[in-house]
Symmetry: C2
Subunit: 334 residues, 2 copies
DNA sequence: TTGAAAGCGTTACCAC
DNA sequence: GTGGTAACGCTTTCAA
C-alpha cells in the first residue's frame, strides 16, 4: 500500500526546511539550529524516515560494509569468531556481508561480489588470496586482512595465533609430563597454521632428542581425527601422546582411542588446539592451546579500520601467543 | 595510487560506445549487437570494470541483499543453517547481511540498520519480531520470514519443524521402548519450539496413561542440560528417560548422568532434538529428532523470493515433519 | 545557519 | 540498435 518510500525530501517538506538541512541533521549534525533540528527530527519520526545507506554510500564512497569470508564455519571455533566480529563491528557502525568459501583460495566470483558492493574492507578467515585477487581488492581501494593465516611477503596485514610458539610449548609440555612417543595429526599441509604448529612441535621435541614423530594428515574435522588416530593406534608404532591440529580433530582422536579400548589419559594423552567450548565438556576434558580470540578479533578490527582510513597501506603481521589450558586429557608424569 | 574507480563511462569511452550501451551489456543484455558487446566486454576486461551494485540498487530499488538475523550461533545447528542459506542464496545472486541478535525479540536498532541498507528481505532465525518491527519492515517493502519459529495470526510467513508432531513421536517412542518415568528438559518457555515439543510429548504420554512428567527449564545450552539433568537425577523422583529440547542440552544431560555414575542407555535413556553432527559422535551416539534443515532452508528461500516478487503478500506457515534418528542413547525394551 | 545545485554510477525511458 | 537524458536519494560545495 504505502509503496512510496520516505526520503529526506519528504521530511524537508513536512518540516518546512530544505532537503540539505535534513541531510545535515542525519549526517554531520553540524551547522543547523536547534529549532530546525527539532522540527526535522519530529517530522522524521512522524514519517518513519530512515536515511538511505545505499544513496549515502554512492556519494561518500564509503558503504560501512565489511565483507567477511569464512571457511569451516562448522568448526565451532568460527561461529564464536563470527559472533565477536559482528558485535565489535556493529558497535562501530559497520555491517557484515557474510560469505562462506569452501576453498583454500577465495574464488574470483566471490571477490567480484565483494567489489560490486564496494565493501570498505574484507576479512578473510582461514583462507588465502591469490595475488591477482589481492590486486583486484587493492585497486578498488578495499582494505584486506587475513585472520588466522599468514603468508610470507604479503601486500596486506594478518593476525594469527603464534602457532610456532604454541607448537613448541605443547612439545615441551608433553616431554615435561613424561611422554616419549609422539604423534601429530595435522590439518591440510598447505595451511600456514598447520605447518607452524608442526614445525614448533617437532623442533621442541628434537631439542629433547626425539626425532621420530608419527604424522598423520587430517583436515581439521572430527572424522579425520577419528580415522587418523585409529590408523596411528593400530599401526605397530608405539604412541603415548597425540598432538592434534585442532580441538575437533582431538575429540575425534579421543573417541577413536576410546573405541579401541584406550583410557584417556592413562593409556594415551591427547592435546588439542583452539579451546572451543566443547573442550571443557566432561566427556572430553581436553587439554588444549587457547587461541586468544578476543585479542585476535580486536586486533584485526583495529588494523582493518586503520587501513581503511589511511592513504598509504602499512602492512604488518601480528602473532598473538595464546596459552596452554590444562585439563584432563594429558597424563601427568607418574 | 589508482584511486580512481572504473565506471561504465570509462568502459564506454574505451570501447567507443555510449554509456547506455555498456549498461545494457551488464544489465538486461538485450538490444546490443554482437560486435559492440564484444568491444565492450573487452574494454571492461582490460580496465577491470565491475558494475557498481550500490548505484544499481539506488535506481532499481533492489539491492539483492538479504538480511539474516540469527540467535544462538554457538549452537552447532545454526552454522549449518547459515551455510546452507548462504550457498542457496548465492546461487540465486543474493548476498547476506549477517546479524547476530541476543534477544528473543529483534531489537529496534538492528531493524533500523536493515532498513537503511534497503535489504530486499529478511530471514529471522530463532527470534521474534514485535508488531511495530513488522510494520516497519512491511512499510519499507521488505519481505520477512521466520525460520524455526512461528506465531499465531502472523503478518508474514514462517517455516519450522513440526515440533508438536515430533514431541508426540518422541513420547510414543519412549513408551514403546518400555520407559515409564519421563522427564523433559526444555528450552526457554517463551519459545514456540519449546512449547510445542513439550505439548506433543506430554500429550502422547498422557494417551498412554502417564501424567507425571518431570520438567526442568533450561536455555538450550550444554550447561543448562548438565545442570538440569543433575538436578533431576539427584531428586528423589524416579526417571528412566529424558527428552531434551535440543541436542546440545542432551549432550550436557548425558555428561551429567555419566558423572553421577549412570550408564547410558542402560540406566537412563536420553533423546535430543536437531541431529547436529555431534549427535552421531561415538562418545554420545545420541538418539534424536532430525530437523530437515535442507528442506527448511529451501522452503524458506522459496517463500522469501516469492514474497519479494509479489505485490500482495501471501502469508503462510509451513511445518515440516523431520524424523527420528535412532542411535544408542535410548534403551530398547528388554 | 541555510538553500540551490552539482554530482555519485547506475538504469530506464525516450527519440532516432 | 543506439545514444541522450532524466531520475534514484543522498552529501557536498558554494553563495547568500
Amino acid at each position: 500500500m504505502s509503496k512510496k518510500k520516505i526520503t529526506s525530501m519528504d521530511v524537508a517538506k513536512l518540516a518546512g526546511v530544505s532537503q540539505s538541512t535534513v541531510s545535515r541533521v542525519f549526517g554531520s549534525g553540524a551547522n543547523v539550529s536547534e529549532k530546525k533540528r527539532n522540527q526535522i527530527l519530529e517530522a522524521a519520526e512522524l514519517l518513519g524516515y530512515q536515511p538511505n545507506a545505499i544513496a549515502r554510500g554512492l556519494i561518500t564512497n564509503k558503504t560501512n560494509m565489511i565483507g567477511i569470508v569464512m571457511r569451516n564455519i562448522q568448526n565451532p571455533f568460527y561461529p564464536e569468531v563470527l559472533e565477536k566480529f559482528y558485535t565489535r563491528l556493529a558497535e562501530k557502525g559497520y555491517h557484515l556481508i557474510f560469505m562462506n568459501s569452501e576453498h583454500n583460495f577465495v574464488q574470483e566470483d566471490e571477490i567480484s561480489h565483494l567489489i560490486e558492493y564496494h565493501v570498505d574492507g574484507v576479512i578473510i578467515t582461514d583462507a588465502l588470496l591469490s595475488s591477482s585477487a589481492v590486486q583486484r581488492f587493492l585497486k578498488n581501494d578495499i582494505a584486506i586482512i587475513l585472520f588466522n593465516r599468514y603468508i610470507e611477503n604479503p601486500d596486506y596485514s594478518a593476525v594469527f595465533c603464534d602457532n610456532f610458539y604454541a607448537g613448541q610449548e605443547i612439545g615441551n609440555y608433553l616431554v615435561k609430563t613424561g611422554h616419549k612417543h609422539f604423534a601429530f595429526i595435522s590439518g591440510p599441509l598447505e595451511t600456514s597454521t598447520t605447518i607452524d604448529r608442526k614445525k614448533g612441535f617437532e623442533q621442541a621435541l628434537a631439542k629433547h632428542g626425539y626425532f621420530d614423530i608419527a604424522v598423520e594428515i587430517g583436515n581439521y574435522s572430527y572424522e579425520s581425527g577419528f580415522e587418523a588416530a585409529k590408523k596411528l593406534l593400530q599401526s605397530n608404532k608405539i604412541v603415548d601422546s597425540i598432538f592434534c591440529g585442532n580441538d575437533i580433530t582431538a575429540l575425534g582422536a579421543i573417541d577413536a582411542a576410546k573405541s579401541l579400548g584406550y583410557n584417556i589419559p592413562e593409556d594415551l594423552s591427547v592435546i588439542g588446539f583452539d579451546d572451543i567450548n566443547m573442550a571443557s565438556w566432561p566427556s572430553y576434558s581436553l587439554t588444549t592451546w587457547k587461541q586468544p580470540i578476543e585479542d585476535m578479533v580486536n586486533q584485526t578490527i583495529d588494523l582493518l579500520l586503520h587501513e581503511m582510513d589511511e592513504e598509504e597501506k602499512s602492512v604488518s603481521s601480528h602473532a598473538l601467543p595464546g596459552e596452554l589450558i590444562i585439563r584432563g586429557s594429558v597424563r601427568q608424569r607418574e
